[in-house]
């Protein structure tokens, strides 16, 4: 029997028992509005394709990764350097998570702007919100499984947030950590979440999400003025797909497939060029020379925690996320009918622009975190040569103290150093010597008081040096007293009389 007949015979054998081909061809051929075969409609399927890839790479990694606090870090190193192609699968999985979160947000923005969540697709949106939370949950738990210093201290941050809950805070901390402190159970617990619990929920809700898309049909491309009402929408949609519809496959699916192909190729290339994420230093909490940072998609939250006014912090940390999540879920019930087109929904456009610029700006701030002291600046960032040329011995002594007293951790000189406090390059134009003395000794405006840690002689030297920090063309700030009436030692040191 020729090969073709063999294939047909095998196909028929299965078809007789499964009877799937009619269902599948029905699904493939279901009519979609001609207008919705748009390049704007490709992000959901691309997110789905990345999810499938995450499952494949995740299972592969799980065959080598050791989910124990003792062995996790070394198994990651083994994956990176010894296991053939381990580095590449780790890179695919890590970059895949960034791709998935990114595509998901774009998909969500598109669905929101195109009013696709409105009647009768409310449940599709709600399922999508569950998928959003699960995907972010996967991103966070995945970061924990990369069990390095960032993971360890990231867990500490998570526990500290939860610990702020009144009354039950410490119980919740123990529940999350699986014990009183970050240890073996903590990693095992996050492993179970990352590979069993959350993926299980994800797969279930992806199925529901897709089923609803098939059942209710793909959202038509919104036209300004076409109002969604509960009375007419279903008939209108039916008319659109029967009158002006096209079969989903290949008419709409081909664009999805082209875009998904591009995304997969992009992921393959990016992962190959950039390699895997970490692991950074081993998760030994006694190595405290560490600057923990979350992964890219949580940097904005990291920034929020630094920038919230302290008095509002606990309240906003605990109440803010539930409110935002509740609003997301409630959206289709708040505006379930009416205009779909973003051209007639200016507020929705403003919301999307605001959300993306806010999160983008916070992420950008998170990448260099100006609020944190630069822990090594005092020993790593040298005093610029120009700032020590032609200075007196006392002023030079001050320059040395600026380094050794760790002032540079918060104050930049010549563009190097912390950004927690103002740069000192032209401090003399802003503060008089007396004001500098006061600021150093008493602190204030976020600066600690150094009164106990500096001798008067040291303060004198520092002020003498800082008093030279002004452009040649601009005089330093002065008190409004006559030069012959010096008001302090510091002033007299610099007065022309000497």
């Amino acid at each position: 029997m020729p090969l073709r007949d063999w294939t047909k015979a095998i196909g028929d054998w299965f078809e007789l028992r499964l009877g799937l081909s009619s269902t599948l061809s029905e699904v493939a051929a279901h009519p979609v509005p001609r207008s919705s075969a748009s390049w704007w409609y490709v992000f959901g399927s691309a997110t789905f394709v990345i999810f499938i890839m995450q499952i494949v790479t995740g299972i592969c990694l799980a065959t080598v990764y050791t989910p124990s606090a003792e062995g996790a870090w070394s198994s990651l190193i083994y994956l990176n350097y010894t296991q053939p192609l381990g580095w590449y699968l780790r890179a695919l999985h890590g970059w895949g998570s960034d791709f998935m979160v990114g595509l998901m947000f774009v998909h969500m923005a598109q669905v929101y702007l195109f009013g696709a969540y409105k009647y009768p697709r409310e449940l599709t949106w709600v399922a999508g919100c569950v998928l959003l939370l699960c995907t972010l949950g996967m991103a966070f738990t995945g970061q924990v499984l990369r069990f390095d210093q960032d993971a360890y201290w990231g867990l500490g941050i998570g526990a500290s947030i939860v610990g702020r809950f009144p009354f039950v805070g410490f119980k919740l901390v123990h529940l999350i950590l699986g014990g009183p402190i970050i240890a073996a159970e903590t990693l095992s617990r996050f492993f179970a979440l990352h590979v069993f619990v959350i993926p299980g929920i994800l797969i279930g809700f992806v199925a529901l999400h897709l089923f609803l898309v098939l059942k209710l049909g793909i959202n038509e491309y919104p036209m300004p003025g076409r109002i969604v009402t509960r009375e007419h929408y279903l008939q209108d949609y039916e008319r659109t797909v029967t009158g002006d519809g096209e079969p989903f496959f290949p008419f709409a699916a081909q664009k999805d497939m082209v875009f998904a192909g591009i995304i997969i190729l992009a992921l393959l290339v990016v992962a190959a060029i950039s390699g895997p994420f970490g692991p950074n230093g081993q998760p030994d909490p006694t190595i405290i020379k560490t600057v923990p940072r979350p992964d890219f998609f949580f940097l904005w939250l990291f920034a929020v925690f630094a920038l919230l006014p302290p008095w509002s912090e606990t309240f906003l940390m605990l109440v803010g996320p539930p409110i935002v999540i509740a609003l997301l879920f409630a959206l289709p019930f708040i505006s379930g009918t009416g205009e779909k087109s973003w051209r007639r929904r200016p507020i929705s456009v403003v919301i999307v622009i605001l959300a993306f610029t806010t999160i983008g700006t916070l992420t950008w701030l998170g990448t260099f975190s100006p609020w944190s002291p630069k822990m090594e600046a005092w020993s790593e960032a040298p005093t610029p040569v120009d700032y020590v040329k032609g200075r007196t011995p006392l002023e030079l002594q001050g320059a040395i103290l600026i380094q050794s007293k760790q002032c540079r951790n918060c104050h930049a000189l010549g563009g190097e150093g912390g950004m927690r406090g103002p740069a000192l390059d032209d401090v003399a134009t802003r503060l008089t010597p007396d004001q500098i003395v006061r600021q150093i000794i008493q602190g204030g405006g976020n600066m600690p008081a150094y009164g106990k840690n500096l001798s008067p002689a040291e303060v004198n030297a520092i002020v003498a040096f800082l008093n030279t920090m002004h452009p040649r063309s601009e005089l330093g700030a002065r008190n409004s007293v006559k030069p012959e009436q010096p008001i302090s030692d510091v002033d007299s040191h610099h007065s022309p009389a000497q």
Binding site: I161, L175, T186, P373, P448
Partner: protein, 177 residues
């Protein structure tokens, strides 16, 4: 299912047919079975939160390890250590010896969000690398977002050794001191 049974009931005017009895028995048995299954599962999952007391006295070094007027990094082994904890069983803390037997022992965790604070002896400050929290040598908050001074451990000097009472991650919900 209920509906079918009820229809039959009303139609046949039977108070307890064999069918309704079996169905009720099935529901009853499975409700008990599910409860008996759920209790151990939920108890297992919630077990870390059931225990209240998680502190033990642990030695962290000889007195001679800690010079007076200095703040030194010390470490202890988590008293609830398991062999597969790996490096995470080592917990650091800051020991400040004012004089003689006068110690203050700070947890490593920033009171803002738990990052490891670092001691800078020259400026006499603890600085946090995450969100810019700064504390004075005595643990008071000096700058940034921390809502309270550094957490302290209970401690005692016994037989020439320094002991701390520890074993739990200090958070605002359960500060040790």
């Amino acid at each position: 299912m209920d509906e079918i049974v009820n229809n039959k009931d009303s139609g046949a005017e039977e108070s307890t047919s064999r069918r309704t009895f079996l169905l009720r028995l099935a529901v009853f048995l499975n409700a008990i079975a599910i409860a008996l299954f759920a209790i151990p599962v939920i108890g297992y999952v919630l077990s870390p939160a059931r225990r209240i007391e998680w502190l033990r006295w642990i030695p962290i070094g000889n007195l001679s390890d800690f010079p007076e007027n200095e703040t030194r990094l010390a470490e202890y082994v988590n008293p609830f250590r398991k062999p597969w904890d790996g490096e995470t069983s080592k917990i650091p803390c800051w020991v400040r010896r004012e004089s003689g037997d006068n110690f203050t022992i700070f947890a490593i965790n920033c009171t803002h969000l738990g990052c490891p604070v670092r001691w800078f002896a020259e400026s006499g400050l603890f600085m946090c690398p995450c969100h810019g929290g700064v504390y004075y040598a005595d643990g008071r908050e000096a700058s940034g977002p921390p809502p309270r001074p550094l957490y302290r451990y209970q401690h005692k000097v016994e037989a020439g050794r320094l002991w701390v009472r520890a074993g739990e991650l200090p958070t605002l919900g359960q500060p040790q001191a």
